[in-house]
Symmetry: C2
């Protein structure tokens, strides 16, 4: 199964329908969301890269990236419509297209194909979250690296090593050693 | 938001419609699924407790529990219809109701209310998986314990401490110390 397929199809559909409401340009290091805020937008990254992270006792944990042609959202806040502790930050100058949840859900509920696709997107998100849980629980740094590299080679083109190391829960030194070997 | 609500509603609906195809009784320690197998069933736990885990370099990582009146599935295999490395095992004598995916999806696609509910179930699964990811990434064992205890107090009634400790990624000794304090 290609779990990416429904997400790519959803992006095409949103583009076709010209549903995006606005464009947003973020400077390098600019925040899109901070801890304690509500964010019920879907974002499509046109250029650049967004990192999602949480801060736990002064340590940052990177939990997701969005790079060119990816959808990204503060999913917990998007679903619950409540504040969440996620941060979203541009790793470099980034261009996004923005779609608010109410507009998106209105579209999805009035279009059977879109509703079917949205349910498939949710399924693939559940699947990806399970992969992510398995990544985090993998004890060996080398095995963690291989799992993520095989699944998401593009990540290693788009994101600076410092943040990949944080995502893989290893030091930048360990990541550098693994990449050389 | 009560993310459990759609799951409870789905169970009621499946009961009302008498959609379950069979009952299954598992002895204590009996396996429902092992690594490398496909499992595309939904299970509803009537009595007992099921643990889902993976084995990583001889270490077990507990990733989910299903206890009375909960739905449980090997979600990765259920979604992809491919083999997965999850194990499912009864922690004590357990009684389950079983529903195969093709029957379930047939029902969901022919019933607008059920489809709407299934999409809400998927949303709440994404939300719960994000909570789980945040749990695992929480550095302090005490904070991990508190997060899970506040969200799922029933877990601590249903599951032996040994497995709760595995789920919380701490030693049984650390869990015992936290519970006494």
């Amino acid at each position: 199964m290609n779990t990416k397929n429904p997400i790519e199809k959803m992006i095409s559909l949103l583009n076709e329908q010209e549903l995006w409401t606005r464009h947003l340009t973020l400077k390098r290091n600019e925040f899109l969301k901070v801890e304690g805020s509500v964010d019920v937008n879907l974002y499509m990254v046109e250029q650049g890269c967004i990192r999602i992270f949480v801060i736990d006792e002064y340590e940052e944990h990177t939990i997701r990236f969005g790079y060119a042609n990816n959808l990204i959202a503060a999913l917990d806040s998007f679903i619950s419509e409540q504040p969440s502790d996620l941060y979203m930050q541009a790793l470099r100058k980034s261009q996004l297209k923005v779609l608010a949840k109410d507009r998106f859900m209105g579209f999805v509920h009035n279009n059977d194909d879109a509703f079917e696709l949205w349910y498939k997107v949710l399924e693939s998100m559940v699947y990806q979250q399970m992969e992510r849980e398995r990544d985090i629980l993998t004890s060996s740094p080398l095995d963690r690296y291989r799992r993520v590299f095989n699944r998401s080679p593009q990540l290693f083109q788009e994101v600076p090593d410092k943040y990949i190391a944080s995502y893989l829960r290893m030091t930048p030194e360990t990541l550098s050693r693994i990449k050389k070997s």
